[in-house]
Symmetry: D2
Subunit: 352 residues, 4 copies
């Protein structure tokens, strides 16, 4: 059978893409040159948001499989696509440079014509955040946020919020890492500190806690309590306000500490790519906020908000993988690390 | 009268934009994950190409006005929009990073399904080149280029090629710069070298030619002949194979040399932005070529070309403002510049 | 006389530059690979800080001349060098990507060996801020900041703080812009609103205030009071806590509003480049803060600070040209702008 | 024992770094403002070149170990540091933006004072190329290149050229990859095509060759011969003009094809990072060439070369990992890949 002939313009549906720019200022017969840029850049952003959703969905689908660590190429795929997400976000940050070629006076030429439309109505970006793990109650200015969206989009986001987010899948994956099952590895571990067991029953973490405590300066003592909160088993899977359980946190910290072992190399890359995603999202929010401030100052945005203040509030609260980031506080120097037994080392490596 | 309510999704026609991605691999029931990226990135490129065309059209419209140099804000607008074009091109170059997250093996999953579509079928990019000033006969591999396009797009490009391009408008603008009309300025100029007049009848250029010649090293003598070709008046407005006339070239060089005078500041910025556009276009072609090579090696592209070789041929030939760039060869040190008379200086400044 | 022969290595003093890396971890015989990167990147930053100081000094020297606006190329030079400063800052922001290739575990290998050295001891960066206009009392955590520096560097910064900063020179330059001298221009202005004079005695600003007020939404009324604070003449040159006088602010706003006139084009570019400098400085601080957080979490920095909190405090307070940025709040649509008289327009243009 | 107190300025030897800028134009009492930038940017480049050498040396030291693939963290370290090299090169490319803020006229102010110094005298960059694998005879314009360097630097480069370069170490590492030893794996492979053995004696490559040939279009037949050249064993370890042996090439292609298996994941990342290094080096050379052209046009460089032509010649010839890049031409679609036996799959995975 003959495959059909594909043409670039049809394949990319350029008739749709290139005919989707109608300027309000033209409709009102007051042509404002820069409105075209305003439309095109937002469309470009939305195209990329669609791609981000597509990638996040695809990695979530993989993370949902129960047997992810078996000898499959899938963890590699997860890392690869998360790194792609980072690369896309870097271009989205850079793209703000283009928006900044629009001066405030040029924006004023058509700004009032857009009311009450607003960038806050970009439900796709909110969906990206929700899929990664940002909960409704963690959001800054929740009511305002809801008031800006159409019911159909609120419904989509709500449904996503009720499903397992990426960070929840990550938590489950960390919890079931085969290396960490009870009794299997730790029985080979030779305790050194004689410290009482903490963070579960195994002596490894008791040793680790003792070494960590010994290295804390006086002014850092609050980290000690935080350590116990993060790593010691409580009754609930993850404590109030946290999305990662003590068991998952122990696994994540272990990965950071012993990342050199073959079986931990990709898991380490995965954790690292999540921190990069958060950093790029955060840089994007920051530059976006600065740009809005530069564009409208202390005036009210087209959607009725004091745009910059909303964005500023989101800056601190919308970190999604903050619990991973904070594990950095609990690292100790490589030369002080508890020594693993040969049996453990073997299990962390390739077939000999 | 109540203005109608605008909503973000409607305003941006997101129903069109976000529903224009149909994967060939899905139609053939062999889903290839990375095809979505392939579609989205090309659509993003085409959106930005539309914006580039829009900006180039707008500056060409301004350059067409006969009285551009009168006290109007329009030259500023030209410079501003050309700088925006540079900023957009920088993001387009950066965007190649995203494409490079697709490995050759991932591309192979759907590459054959796209035949005979090809990036060479992007008529918008060719239109950008044509509007700026690239002629059909200057193009590398002309027949191949024609064979890839639909008749309707060939017609559009041909029509544009028959109209005044930006570089032709630039030539006209440089030729009629008010400062350079015969007799008006140069009569105040005090010749120093006693060299015979060159490049028109005025003694300024005779002096300049003498100073320039004196600074050439032996190995650079070929520049002398090139100097005379570029600057001395011949019968035709611009010599065979050139798009800028001697008169226009003299104006452009004068702007570079005496850019400090108020009336020359924006003209200098304009010339500079054109060189930046060429450089970004060229960087884009170069990275594009490298990316294609990395993706398909020495295989034949989906459109039937040896992709990389075509792109490589374009690299050297598609400089649009090369004649401006080469004027750099004719600069002399500031401290050797012919001194202008007070009358001339006055005409180059603001109202006193 | 024969000019001496210059060699690349001697000219660049590469013997000094390339032999200035001694690793503490080597001295302690515990070689930590990444310490070399740590040293080199900080040296690269300090080289660029030296260049920033050099450029800021050079533009300040120009701004100090009393007759800057006469037909000289110098304002162009100021804009050019400020734009270079922006370009350098963009690379400095990008350079953080390199630092982020150092993982927290790799940093731990030598972190303790550096105490009590700290990035806060970079006096050159503080000097850049001080020269631009950041006052000691505006700084976040002043005592900590002083405690980190050597007396000789404190002395340098103090001396700079006592001299005219760039923003003060800017204020003086704006105040004496020739276009704004009393009686000269405004006598030709035809008032329209009949509003009582505000912001000095001239009717132009009375009109402007009336138009601006008419466009404010109810929720934006606080801008009205702020408008009067910023623009109306008080007794002191600049009010408490402000570095720009009402007269200078009026000139700056006028430049933004009527930037199209030839004489205002470079002044507009100058104001714009200052906003870009602030934005890049701010992006640098933000990414720097994120990077420190990612590197040490909630631990204490080598210099004894909770690094991230200090940096976070600086984020909001260290905007230098915030008063320029906030003028954006006072713009009105182009089509509502008061019409200037032909006499005024003539004075804003080139020689006819 | 008390550790000594470290101070930022001493640690970074800022007295050396910040006092190594002496302007020739100052010595000649003709201060040229932009010469400072010229010095500082070259010093920044040389600092980073030193870092590149340091990283390349460190990965070469690891690659030299005979037992690299045993369960050690070292391959991860190699990949990590090569990726850092890429990150550094990206900043070096970006840094050209700063150089481009120097206009040709500004360069002319001090250009002649630098003769005969020239960027070609940067021996560190040549050393980076040599350490990675660029041979003297592969260099463009070899005599010119030698004529520019001091004997001591020529000696250093020559010595490096006589040692094992990174690409030679890579070749050895690929050749001895444990998976590929004769008889061990391939005996489990089930041949399908019945094609005669090629590329060694094993039936896997005979099958692969048959599948590959079947997918070649008529115009691509030259790839077939190239395939046999690259993969089939000849007498010498690597054929004339090649740095990778057929055995090493087979290993590299196998890694690209089956990169999903755990044991191949890092080797794939390693190959990929080498292609990125080449691409960044090449982009750097391209932008450097464009910048030189823009700066001096067709004039002779300070070192006596027609700068741009030299740089242009290097562009095509100085690819170091071109043999890896060209393997892309030999990929086949994933769904056509020969199926590995369970025994082989097991050897490609982690401990079960």
């Amino acid at each position: 059978m003959q495959q059909k002939q594909v043409h670039y313009s049809d394949y990319l549906q350029l008739d749709k893409i290139l005919n989707a720019q109608v300027l309000e200022s033209d409709l009102l017969q007051q042509h404002a040159h820069d409105e075209m840029l305003f439309i095109v850049i937002h469309q470009a952003y939305e195209l990329w948001f669609k791609q981000l959703l597509y990638e996040v969905d695809s990695v979530a689908a993989i993370m949902q499989k129960p047997a992810l660590n078996d000898n499959s190429p899938e963890l590699q795929t997860v890392v690869h696509r998360l790194n792609r997400t980072v690369t896309i976000l870097k271009v989205l940050v850079h793209q703000i440079d283009i928006m900044e070629t629009m001066t405030p006076m040029d924006f004023l030429d058509f700004r009032d014509m857009l009311r009450p439309a607003s960038g806050f109505q970009s439900w796709q970006f909110k969906l990206v955040e929700a899929k990664l793990g940002l909960k409704y109650q963690q959001r800054h200015a929740q009511e305002y946020y809801i008031s800006q969206l159409r019911q159909e989009h609120i419904d989509i986001i709500r449904r996503v919020e009720s499903e397992k987010s990426f960070i929840e899948l990550l938590n489950a994956w960390l919890e079931r890492m085969p290396f960490f099952e009870e009794g299997e590895n730790w029985k080979h571990y030779k305790p050194v500190s004689g410290a009482p067991a903490a963070g579960g029953n195994d002596p490894f973490w008791a040793d680790y806690r003792a070494i960590y405590s010994g290295g804390l300066a006086e002014a850092e003592q609050s980290n000690q309590q935080y350590f116990d909160t993060v790593f010691s088993d409580g009754s609930s899977p993850a404590q109030e306000g946290r999305q990662l359980s003590p068991r998952a946190c122990r696994a994540a910290l272990f990965i950071m500490l012993y990342r050199g072992y073959p079986i931990l190399q990709l898991p380490f890359q995965l954790l690292n790519s999540l921190l990069e995603i958060d950093e790029q999202l955060s840089t994007w929010r920051y530059r976006h906020m600065s740009m809005v401030h530069r564009m409208i100052g202390t005036r009210i945005g087209t959607g009725g908000s004091t745009g910059r203040d909303y964005l500023k509030g989101a800056l601190d609260k919308h970190y999604i993988f903050a619990e991973i980031a904070r594990l950095t506080s609990f690292l100790i120097e490589r030369r002080k690390l508890p020594v693993l037994s040969p049996e453990m080392e073997k299990r962390l490596g390739f077939v000999g």
